[in-house]
Amino acid sequence: MKLSSKYYLNLIILVAALTSCTGKPGDDIAEADRTASIDPDYTGITIPFNIAPMNFKITEVGSGFFVRFSDSKEKKIEISSKNGIIIIPEGKWKKMLQENKGKEINVEIYLKNKKGSWSKFKNITNNVAAEPVDPFITYRLLYPGYESWKEIYIRQRSLESFQERSIIENSLVEENCLNCHSYNNNGSSENFLFHMRGSLGGTYFYSGSDFKKVNLKTKEMKNGAVYPRWHPSGKFVAFSSNKIVQQFHSALNKKVEVSDLESSLVLYDIDRNEMMNINIPDNEQYMDTYPEWSPDGRYLYFCRAPRVGEVFEYDSVRYDLYRVLFDPATRKTGKAELVYSASSLRKSISFPRISPDGRFLVVTLHNYGCFPIWHKEADLHIIDLQTLTPSYMALNSDFTDSYHSWSSNSRWLVFSSKRIDGLTARFFISFIDEKGNSAKAFILPQKDPEFYQRFIKSFNLPEFSALKVKVNPGKIRKRAEGDALQAKWVEN
């Protein structure tokens, strides 16, 4: 009897299905006394219910793997894999997380050895927080380089999926440098800006449907406007104005040292297009940098160190945390008030960031200087603004932990960490409870769990936001090719 081609096709499909399937573990399972080693490490973490699937790879030696995600209502997601790579179906994942807000999810991992017998590792339990994370992270993508740059992107990634797009790529703008993107109020308003340095240089202000190119540097200013922070009202942006020098270590594990030779704080009034000094008394004796506003806009926090001379020891420059009262009507400030003296502990502070609920302030603490991304000892510390007491955060690692951003609900913190390989910065997210305690941090999920092993570029300056920047790079390029609005200098 001749068999039809359809029969053969079905047979082939069946054989293929059978041979690709690793099968499920049966009843006879050996129990391992530890959890499975997985990469990334998504064990014992607290995750937002709107996070993208947290795909991972089981880095155990086996001929087959089986994973079961389950909740208290015994709903399951089951995945088999031959090579240990676990890709979680997005729809099922979202549904499971939605249904388990404030609850736990168990992860069972099984391994099949060469002889075909199964063993089970200890369960992994992860908490699903009731609070969502902001839907987007905006960041800069570049080589963690020294002096040169070629490819720089400012990208916006959805945390709820793996979708990502470029806000702007420097290949579209004559390879100018792109940096210092900044949202107001975590993107709950439409205020967003970034700097471009080079032939098309300027500061680009987003206004919902377009960008405005402004030249903030006036002839009265010694240095350009650098690190920005939006006033919550959206009417002002505080910048530091820095003279920065970059030097290269010949022998230490640190590769680069970035220091300020001088810095001060300036204010840009958006509506009036005016630049002015933030005249803090005695500020000529100091270097002031990294401005940060309190959520109510009444206080301006900043980092301050004594001004350096022409010759100085770079590793003895240390910044403390100060704040001043700010009056939006007059644009004037009061006297500087010391908030935290890091220098008295022979430490230095950078990147003060206040939670939107005004409760906590997180800083990067390191041994000296003001550019901690190259400092292995840099760690995040949290200051309770009610008591002004600082604490070391549990989310830290033995490597650089730095540049951080709060989610709009003050429950999540994203920060840059070099804990994976000591060179490239990756984004880690941690849940922060009402008391300021941080949960174990987890790395930003990628569709391919092996992505971070291969990728040699660095993720830089993460900023949570609810705002999706809708202007396409082509429009920005057009703006960039046009003239800049020149800011006016005023004495305040």
């Binding site: 080589y143 380089g145 020294y146 002096e147 040169s148 740059w149 070629k150 290949s171 579209l172 030097q247 290269f248 270590h249 010949s250 022998a251 230490l252 594990n253 590769k255 040292e257 994976i420 390989d421 000591g422 060179l423 490239t424 092993q453 291969r454 990728f455 040699i456 396409n472 790079p473 082509g474 390029r477």
Partner: protein, 607 residues
């Protein structure tokens, strides 16, 4: 019976005639292919044995990685697939003969296709014009910076044009053009022009609609890409990957060639009447066809071959292979004034402990630029300057140069290897693994990658490695900020913290000799014994003799080290020779150069 015999004879005669006709056809085919074969052979021999520096340079310029990430990052705009294909083929330039084969094949295919196109459009065979074009592309390719994708892009347009005119009728070319443009980028306009001229010559209304459709579809596609997907400028989308830089700055030559190709449909229609005596002796004319490629290739090769480049790149090849003795021997045999060659040779001398013995054997730069290169982000210096730091144990700085080169120019074989080595030496195994993973995904460097991989996380293995172990031991221990605008400062800083660093010391003394700092030289001489020297290097001996008679420095106590009496005798001879020419620098120069050109004394007198 006679009829039958006659029939057999006739059959035999027919068969013989058929065989002869077949032989003639074969013969004609062979003769018609002979010019291509000869051209190919000439091309192959030239690129395989004479201008193999073209393959060497281009293979070292970029690393082709067999990975999904590399593919994705290389198909993101029109024309990048062509670049990807070009880089893939360039991988095989690792073996110059394979590279010569590829280059020759592409050029000969161009010739073949032009010949076919002319034959199809004009109805007549042509070999001379195609060979001329082949020669033009041959000449273009002799510039080592003229990347392979330029000829490849041209070939693809000719293929596409030939196929569309012969087989792909109707609106198929119009429909498929966006895909073609995506693959070949700016080169696709060559096809557009050729096709437009081809269609225009038919001069019917229907055909004009086709031409207009082609242009409309093309520009619409670019517009959509510009506005909604890629956001690049119109100019970039229009011409990428064509660029002056990647043609070796031969645009003024390359563009007219492109124009001539585009005009082929017109030029095919030009009827050239041969002089009567030539037309009547067609067979004689044909017999000269094989001579044409021989002449064309020979003349072009003679004009375009660059001995200086060949010697430079061969030196660089020896350097990368760490055949330091061979490198020095080669440069001795093929003297050069190329600063980069001398720079690499100085490193070779340093690695073999002969920097201050043979320094003046080779032409040096008075400002020290043959010893260490000043930082330069855009030129060829960035690729090579880090080797000085690698040799002298400034591993962080060597790493930085390799890293910056990667950022600016992309991943290159030697650059990636330097990153791997410096990370392993510094014990950054996790990062080294990343680079090794890239190197493993290449065709010809994966074995090296596997060797490096065995060293990871095994300090003992690293320390016993013949190269990396030594470099780890020699790595400088004290930290300071590197000054790449003035590398000599780095030398001083290293010695400030580690005065016993012999390699760096030798570079210092070499530099002091170049700038004729006799006080510094004298101070250095005083330290030789403490640094473990058993004998004074030759050039330092020569410098010592000058210190002895100099007003600006005094020869210090050399301890147990002695100046070789032969050096003293030679110095006396030098002085006597100079005096015999009336102490005239000018008149004495030729003889002093001839007899003492490789000494510090000549340098001191004439620089």
């Amino acid at each position: 019976m006679p009829c039958r015999r006659n029939g057999l004879r006739i059959n035999r005669q027919i068969k013989i005639k058929q065989i002869m006709t077949k032989d003639k056809t074969i013969m004609r085919s062979v003769i018609s292919f002979l010019p291509y074969l000869i051209f190919f052979t000439g091309c192959f021999l030239f690129y395989g044995f004479f201008a193999d520096y073209v393959e060497f340079y281009q293979e070292k310029l970029a690393l082709f990685v067999f990975s999904h990430d590399y593919l994705i990052s290389n198909i993101k705009q029109p024309g990048s697939l062509l670049l990807y294909l070009g880089r893939f083929l360039t991988t095989f330039f690792y073996y110059p003969l394979a590279g010569a084969f590829i280059i020759s094949l592409i050029i000969c295919l161009i010739i073949f296709l032009i010949s076919k196109i002319i034959s199809y459009l004009s109805g007549k065979e042509s070999i001379f014009i195609p060979l001329i074009f082949g020669t033009l592309f041959f000449i273009l390719q002799t510039n080592y910076q003229y990347l392979l994708f330029n000829n490849l892009g041209m070939l693809l347009q000719l293929v596409f044009f030939y196929l569309t005119t012969r087989y792909l009728k109707g609106y198929f070319p119009v429909i498929i053009f966006p895909l073609w443009y995506w693959i070949t980028g700016g080169f696709a306009w060559i096809f557009v022009l050729m096709y437009t001229f081809f269609i225009a010559l038919k001069a019917t209304k229907k055909e004009w609609i086709r031409i207009i459709s082609l242009f409309v579809v093309s520009f619409l596609f670019i517009y959509v890409l510009k506005q909604f997907f890629l956001f690049q400028s119109f100019n970039t989308l229009l011409i990428f990957p064509l660029s002056g830089e990647d043609t070796g700055s031969q645009l003024t030559f390359y563009l007219p060639v492109i124009a001539l190709i585009a005009l082929l449909p017109f030029s095919c229609k030009i009827k050239i009447r041969l002089p009567g005596w030539l037309g009547n002796h067609d067979k004689i004319v044909r017999s000269f066809y094989p001579v044409i490629p021989v002449l064309l290739i020979s003349i072009s090769s003679f004009i375009c071959f660059d001995r200086v480049l060949k010697e430079y790149f061969y030196s660089e090849k020896l350097f990368y292979r760490e055949n330091y003795d061979d490198l020095t021997r080669y440069i001795t045999k093929h003297p050069t004034t190329n600063r980069l060659t001398i720079f690499l040779n100085n490193i070779a001398l340093s690695e073999t402990g002969r920097l201050n013995d043979l320094l003046f054997q080779f032409p040096q730069s008075p400002d020290g630029q043959t010893l260490f290169l000043k930082w330069e982000m855009y030129g060829e210096v960035l690729r090579r300057g880090g080797y000085f730091y690698y040799t002298t144990g400034m591993i962080n700085e060597a790493h930085r140069w390799a890293y910056e080169n990667m950022v600016m120019k992309g991943i290159t074989p030697e650059g990636l290897k330097m990153l791997v080595k410096t990370e392993i030496i510094n014990g950054d195994y996790k990062v080294a693994l990343k680079y090794i993973s890239i190197l493993k995904n290449t065709l010809f460097y994966r074995d090296e990658a596997k060797e490096y991989e065995k060293l990871l996380y095994d300090d003992n293995a690293v320390e016993s490695h013949p190269e990396l172990g030594v470099k780890r031991k020699e790595r400088i221990g004290h930290d300071f900020f590197s000054i790449t605008d003035d590398p000599y400062v780095n030398i001083q800083r290293v010695l400030y913290f580690d005065s016993l660093n012999r390699k760096v010391f030798e570079y210092k003394l070499a530099y002091l000799m170049l700038i004729k700092d006799y006080k510094g030289i004298a101070a250095g001489l005083a330290r030789l014994e403490s640094l473990g020297y058993k004998k004074i290097p030759v050039n330092l001996e020569e410098a010592a003799m000058v210190c002895r008679i100099s007003d600006s420095a005094t020869l210090p106590d050399l301890g147990n080290l002695k100046i070789n009496p032969q050096t003293e005798a030679r110095f006396n001879m030098f002085l006597q020779t100079f005096q015999s020419y009336g102490n005239s620098l000018k008149t004495a120069e030729p003889i002093l150069r001839q007899k003492f050109g490789n000494t510090f004394w000549y340098w001191a007198f004439y620089h």
